[in-house]
Point group: C2
Chain length 231, copies 2
């Protein structure tokens, strides 16, 4: 198991070991630094982060419940392989889920939060300008998360994150084989709609952002990319 993939992370005081392991693995998967098909061993991870099998196993179980990992019949654990079909399924689900999340957020949004969204968007534009894909990706996620969590009753966010998590490994592949991820940015449109509290317009902007962004990959391009990556 590549130790490079598992970069150490800040560990706030009081955080349990299994929680730390979960966050670290999650992050690695989310940004696509673990190869799909690569199988993870409990002991390997435990050693890599200087702990023991017990908490690592708990972290892996959680991640498999979140769809980030798959448990094989051999009981071996791996990052699921991406297919064109699965990709299409994930993207369409993402669109539906996030449109809904956006709609339900609108009644709770404050001007204060919209300002914060603008700020995040500016930072993302800067990251894109200096071709810092990883940061741009993270800021894009933060934009969406900041919007949806305006709704205080959170049942959707974990599912949205689950979809992101499942899409992560593909992004890793894409970043490797495509020189520059091109970001579509319908965020300005979303912000304008938010200022007017126009649910339909917000939902439309989010839908466009997704379907022209990650959803913009043509099926043929996906298959090509996956073939190149040896999936």
């Amino acid at each position: 198991m590549g130790n490079l993939a598992l970069e150490p992370l800040d560990r706030p005081e009081g955080m349990t070991t299994h929680e730390y392991a979960h966050r670290r693995l999650r992050q690695a998967i989310m940004v696509g630094s673990i190869r799909p098909g690569e199988s993870l061993t409990i002991r390997g991870i435990a050693e890599a982060m200087e702990s023991s099998p017990t908490p690592v196993r708990e972290a892996l179980r959680r991640l498999s419940s979140e769809g980030a990992l798959r448990v094989l019949d051999n009981r071996r654990i791996m990052v699921p392989r991406m297919t064109a079909d699965r990709f299409s399924e994930l993207v369409s689900l993402r669109a539906v889920l996030e449109q809904h999340a956006a709609r339900r957020a609108v009644p709770h949004i404050t001007e204060r939060r919209i300002d914060r969204l603008e700020e995040i968007d500016r930072a993302q534009d800067e990251a894109i300008a200096r071709k810092d894909n990883a940061t741009a990706l993270l800021l894009n996620q933060e934009f969406h998360r900041t919007l949806y969590t305006a709704n205080p009753e959170q049942v959707i966010m974990p599912m949205v994150e689950s979809v992101w998590l499942q899409l992560g490994p593909f992004l890793g592949i894409a970043m490797e084989h495509v020189a520059q991820l091109y970001f579509v940015d319908r965020h300005h449109e979303a912000i304008a709609a938010l200022r007017k509290r126009d649910e339909n317009a917000v939902a439309a902007a989010i839908k466009a952002d997704i379907s022209e962004g990650i959803g913009g990959f043509e099926r043929a391009a996906i298959e090509n990319l996956l073939r190149l990556a040896g999936q």
Copy 2:
């Protein structure tokens, strides 16, 4: 922790202990036989099913990732309390999610599977007729699951099940305080639409089934029910 709530379950050969614990707890929560707010202890559960803390902890972690359980700051684990707001959020999410799942299933549906759906629906009608709420509930879930899993690429089903799981405890309360759960049955309508491969009609039937079924509870009724149950 009430041992009554944890009825023994079939344990197929080769099933691991943590998997068995997960299924058993999941089932108990799904049908609402564990009180919201009731806190679960690892050792208590381990003793109740004659195993040890390790696998039980793994099961609990999975269930908390599935939204079925909540981990408090004390690290105590409990079934989350229901509120009117959360309920509304869950029901609207359920409608969106399942409409989408139904749409994506239509292209893959076979006559054979539609026959099976009819059969399940008949069985459910019988269960309703003899006022067997628990069985009717389970058969209703099986109807929906059988429809959605026509799509071979399954990324939505775990999320649908997560919503069911989160609604489960409320159903337990409802069954206790309402003499008879009244089931709305738009299944015939869905089946007819499926025969015609009419995606929009299928989605409409599912939406109606949900919003007139569990979604039919008025907000005032919910609040009343929750107050009665001491939530």
